[in-house]
């Protein structure tokens, strides 16, 4: 009996190591995949409720997740050296596509963000969420760190050109996320503290300067943006309803598909930008803590993987990808809970719609590629 138990144990170990071998062969990081899968699965459960029990909505999201998973698997197998060498071309290509979109959008007399490729619509700004941090990491790869003033000036151009092109679409939310992804690379590269402080001071001065030149109605607009509660039927409606949803959920929530705020449509954007509030209402504080735990685990794992890579490009890019993921979570959660102004940032892997799921998973694919081939890097 005892012998057999040991055998069974060893068989389990053998099975596990077999699974590990598969992961290794696929260049995939097990813990990261588990974390991402759990978030995605949790998201689908919530989405079914938040979409008003719409199965097609859930199935479309599953399709996107699968597409993202394929992108992740493919990118995980790419040689990091190839990735690094092709980075400038990817970046320049992305900028060119943004110019094309801007041109079409201009002639079409309206906001335009995507290119219709027949089979699917493609948003070049999504590509830039990856291309910009890649380009920054590529630029710093050969250079000594912390970056010099001239390097910083060059990086500023690298970041601001695509950001400006996205901002004029106009898509300020995505533009800000692209800028943050690029800026995080520079921070990780060892940007000096006093430079950051100086930048903060400059920003504050610019804000004060701008404020003193604004008309009353413009100031009012800014204040409404910063504190939507002053406009309960307009900009404030979303945030008031989402706070009611989260607050009324309490510790244990009202139960799956039983959140009155979400189900009776008091909560706007319930399946997209404000899905965080649906979780808060139906699964309560515990449900949100579980979600945050999963996110923090994924981000922590990503940062750990980044520290294990062995060259500058890989480290900076991997670190930036992981941190950007957390920035998405924090901005969305902060907005829905009323800590931050309302900006259109979806909750990663949970919010319905958009090509951001594919971009996110592609980013994690790149991260895995950088980690799994770490011993080959620089060879």
């Amino acid at each position: 009996m005892i012998y057999e138990e040991v055998t069974a144990g060893s068989r389990t170990r053998r099975t596990l190591s077999g699974a590990a071998r598969v992961l290794l062969e696929l260049r995939i990081d097990g813990p990261l995949v588990v974390g991402l899968s759990l978030i995605a699965a949790y998201g689908l459960v919530v989405l079914y409720s938040a979409s008003g029990q719409s199965l097609p909505t859930v199935l479309r999201t599953v399709a996107r997740l699968l597409l993202g998973a394929i992108a992740m698997l493919l990118l995980a197998r790419v040689n990091p050296n190839f990735l690094r060498r092709s980075t400038p071309w990817l970046y320049l290509g992305g900028c060119a596509l943004l110019l094309v979109v801007a041109a079409i959008g201009h002639s079409g007399m309206g906001a335009q963000r995507w290119l219709d490729l027949g089979v699917f619509r493609f948003q070049p700004s999504e590509l830039m969420k990856l291309a910009v941090p890649m380009m920054c990491a590529w630029y710093l790869h050969e250079r000594p760190l912390p970056p010099t003033w001239s390097a910083l000036a060059m990086l500023a151009v690298v970041i601001l050109v695509p950001v400006a092109l996205v901002a004029v679409q106009p898509d300020l939310g995505t533009a800000a996320l692209i800028a943050i992804a690029g800026a995080l690379v520079i921070v990780l590269a060892g940007l000096r503290l006093r430079f950051m402080l100086a930048l903060l001071a400059l920003g504050a001065a610019a804000a004060w300067f701008g404020w003193s030149f604004m008309h009353d109605y413009q100031r009012k607009r800014v204040l409404t943006f910063l504190n939507p509660q002053t406009d309960p039927l307009g900009a404030g409606y979303h945030i008031i309803q989402s706070q009611i949803a989260i607050g009324s959920g309490g510790v244990f929530g009202k139960g799956w598909m039983n959140g009155s705020q979400a189900q009776l449509e008091f909560l706007p954007e319930r399946s997209t930008d404000f899905i965080f509030a649906v979780i808060g209402e139906e699964f309560g504080l515990l449900g949100l803590l579980l979600l945050l735990l999963l996110y923090v685990f994924v981000v922590g794992r990503a940062i750990y993987l980044a520290t294990q890579t062995q060259d500058t490009y890989a480290r900076l890019l991997a670190g930036s990808l992981g941190l950007t993921f957390f920035v998405y979570v924090f901005i969305n959660a902060g907005m829905v809970t009323g800590l931050l102004p309302v900006v259109g940032v979806p909750l990663p892997l949970v919010s319905y719609g958009g090509s951001s799921v594919v971009t996110l998973l592609a980013g994690f694919g790149i991260l895995m590629a950088l980690y799994s081939r770490r011993k080959l890097v620089g060879s």
Binding site: I244, N258, L264, V296
Partner: protein, 631 residues
């Protein structure tokens, strides 16, 4: 030349690790910040947000309570409730609103000129709300629509309870009416208690007893979505904790009014302006309260139009004016009994002594001449004759001898100069003049002095003295009971509609007239019986099955110059004298006392007295013309 920096991989790795650690710390802090925020929302302020969420999803739909009924003393319904039909339209269920409205115009269910207004109402309503497009449908309208109903998807006939007065304008000035709640009403009612109620009592019993009649509205909690649409379920679950509270119907009120007597009084006075107030002298119960012309109270409840209201307001006969409670008129000779009582009580007059009436009276020390009505000559009259034949000259002298101060003091307990305190609002008081009154009211010093001549007029109920019909009826009932005073009342009991239990309201005694000897009461009553048997109203009293006491009165509207004769046929109908009659019966044990006023009716004996006789007969006699036994 700056030093050439070369990549130091080991140092860069360490820098990156430091930065990663710092970022991880920031992530940790940010996460803690988020968690604190969630704790505030979901734990500290959970109840606050739970309330807001409940308020979002649940809407209270009021269920109006049935208004209490108003019944006469025999239990006959005077004011009840009746469903009113209205046509309602649910915009989202109507395929083509314009076409539908055009078709309704074709059926003459709505008027073409109203279509624009109806369309605006529909546009401003939510698509799933039922919009009333035609109120007050007649039975015929309902039938016409019912036949074509299949052509009108999204349209339906809804009923709502509205006040219904089965006897039309009968007793309207006692009842009052219900009308739409006005801005004015909103100031003194609890809005929550009236949610779902469209009508409120105005005037009369309907207004004074609003609280009892209204009852308590119920409510039904409905689950609503963000658009306010009522929904059955919320996500996957059907909520079970929605509450409903049934409404409590208002109390029914039992009036003291006898509808039979009321109807007789109204038809007797019909075609004239005037008032009849009949009281039970033994408890103050109002047997009939008439003010004509009246109006149909139902039209206020179903929604009166501006044109209809304008007609009522502009009517020269003032149908909205409650003459019985608010009309003040000189009482004329109807005050003579109380003047006589004052003379007897103050021992100013010997009841058997005769005075000579030659048709005019000279006030001692004055050149004024006070004429007898119609220039009659009564010859030698004692007190009994003076009352029965209404000799002015006798009372000119008597009043002058008693003096204004004593007359005023003596008359006060009979209710002159103050409201009777009847249990409905809107009563106005007449004027009981006195030296003090005159000094207070007039501004010019010359006017503030009481002149002896004014006392002379006072003696026959002219001059400053004014009364309302209910005051005069109250006075008649006090004389009838030889001095017992009861506060007039219209509501004798209320009935709980659920248990059917009747809660009587005790009549309110206000004591007795002090200091009048029983013999003196008897002498004056005897004089009043004389009025109906051999005096001014002998024609009216003839062949009565009971002995009744009365007094005629004629109130001057138009002052005839002292050297001029009053000629009714020559002056405008509206300037003719007002006709009064007060009476009570049976004279020895009175069961009814009344006052009748006919505006511009001329002499009391010819206009008001016949009406009084009909009312007395209606109350006292059975179908065979025999006096009913006292119940």
């Amino acid at each position: 030349m700056p030093a050439v920096r070369i990549k130091d991989h080991w140092r860069e790795q360490r820098l990156f690790d430091q930065r990663s650690l710092a970022c991880a710390a920031i992530i940790g802090l940010a996460s803690i910040g988020l968690i604190v925020r969630l704790f505030v929302l979901q734990v500290s302020r959970h109840e606050y947000y739970a309330d807001l969420s409940q308020g979002n999803r649940v809407r209270n739909e009021p269920i109006p309570a049935a208004r209490g009924l108003i019944l006469d003393r025999h239990g006959e319904v005077i004011a009840g409730n009746q469903p009113a039909y209205q046509l309602e339209l649910v915009p989202e269920e109507v395929p083509d609103v314009d076409k539908t409205l055009a078709n309704l115009v074709g059926l003459s269910l709505i008027r073409a000129e109203d279509v624009g207004e109806i369309e605006r109402t529909i546009d401003s309503s939510r698509t799933f709300d039922s919009v009333p497009i035609r109120l007050r449908m007649s039975d015929e309208d309902v039938a016409r629509f019912a036949v074509r109903r299949f052509e009108f998807p999204g349209l339906d006939i809804k009923t709502r309870q509205t006040r219904w007065y089965p006897h039309g304008d009968l007793a309207v000035h006692a009842l009052g009416y219900v009308g739409a709640i006005s801005e004015q009403d909103l100031k003194h009612i609890d809005r929550a208690a009236y949610a779902g109620t469209a009508l409120i009592g105005k005037l009369g019993v309907e207004s004074t007893f609003e609280r009892e009649l209204h009852g308590a509205n119920g409510f039904r909690e409905l689950l609503v979505n963000a658009q306010g649409r009522s929904v059955e379920r919320q996500g996957a679950f059907i909520p079970t904790n929605l509450r409903t509270r049934a409404p409590t119907a208002g109390d029914d009120l039992m009036l003291t009014i006898d509808l039979t007597v009321q109807r007789v009084a109204e038809s007797a006075l019909a075609g004239h302006r005037g008032a009849v107030v009949a009281l039970d002298p033994n408890n103050g119960d109002v047997i009939a309260l008439v003010s004509l012309p009246g109006f149909d109270p139902t039209m206020f409840g179903r929604g009166i139009t501006a044109a209809e209201y304008g007609t009522l307001q502009g009517d020269i006969d003032r149908p909205l004016f409650n003459r019985a409670l608010r009309g003040t008129y000189p009482p004329g000779s109807t005050v003579k009994p109380v003047i006589a009582l004052a003379g007897l009580t103050y021992h100013v007059v010997d009841p058997e002594a005769h005075r000579f009436c030659a048709g005019s009276y000279h006030l001692p020390g004055s050149s004024f001449i006070y004429r007898e009505y119609h220039n009659e000559h009564h010859g030698a009259v004692n007190l009994d004759d003076a009352i029965a034949r209404s000799c002015d000259v006798y009372f000119y002298g008597l009043a002058n001898e008693i003096g204004v101060d004593r007359i005023s003091t003596f008359m006060a307990p009979f209710g002159f100069g103050k409201p009777t305190g009847i249990d409905i609002g809107g009563e106005k008081a007449g004027i009981l003049p006195s030296r003090e009154w005159k000094e207070k009211v007039f501004s010019r010093p010359a006017d503030r002095v009481w002149f002896p001549g004014e006392t002379v007029s006072f003696g026959i109920g002219q001059g400053y003295l004014t009364v309302t019909p209910i005051e005069l009826a109250h006075y008649a009932s006090i004389v009838a009971t030889r001095g017992r005073i009861w506060r007039p009342r219209l509501v004798s009991a209320w009935r709980d509609p659920r248990t059917g239990q009747v809660h009587p309201i005790a009549p309110v005694s206000e004591g007795e007239v002090p200091g009048v000897a029983a013999d003196d009461w008897q002498r004056v009553v005897h004089g009043m019986i004389g009025v109906t048997q051999r005096g001014t109203a002998a024609a009216i009293g003839a062949h009565a099955a009971y002995v009744f006491a009365g007094k005629t009165g004629t109130a001057q509207v138009y002052t005839v110059a002292r050297n001029e004769k009053y000629n009714a046929s020559k002056i405008n109908e509206r300037l003719r004298d007002h006709s009064w009659f007060i009476a009570f019966a049976p004279a020895d044990a009175p069961r009814i006392a009344l006052a009748v006023l006919e505006e511009n009716g001329g002499a009391g004996a010819s206009a008001a007295a016949p009406i009084a006789r009909k009312v007395l007969d209606a109350y006292l006699l059975d179908a065979d013309g025999k006096v009913k036994p006292h119940s």
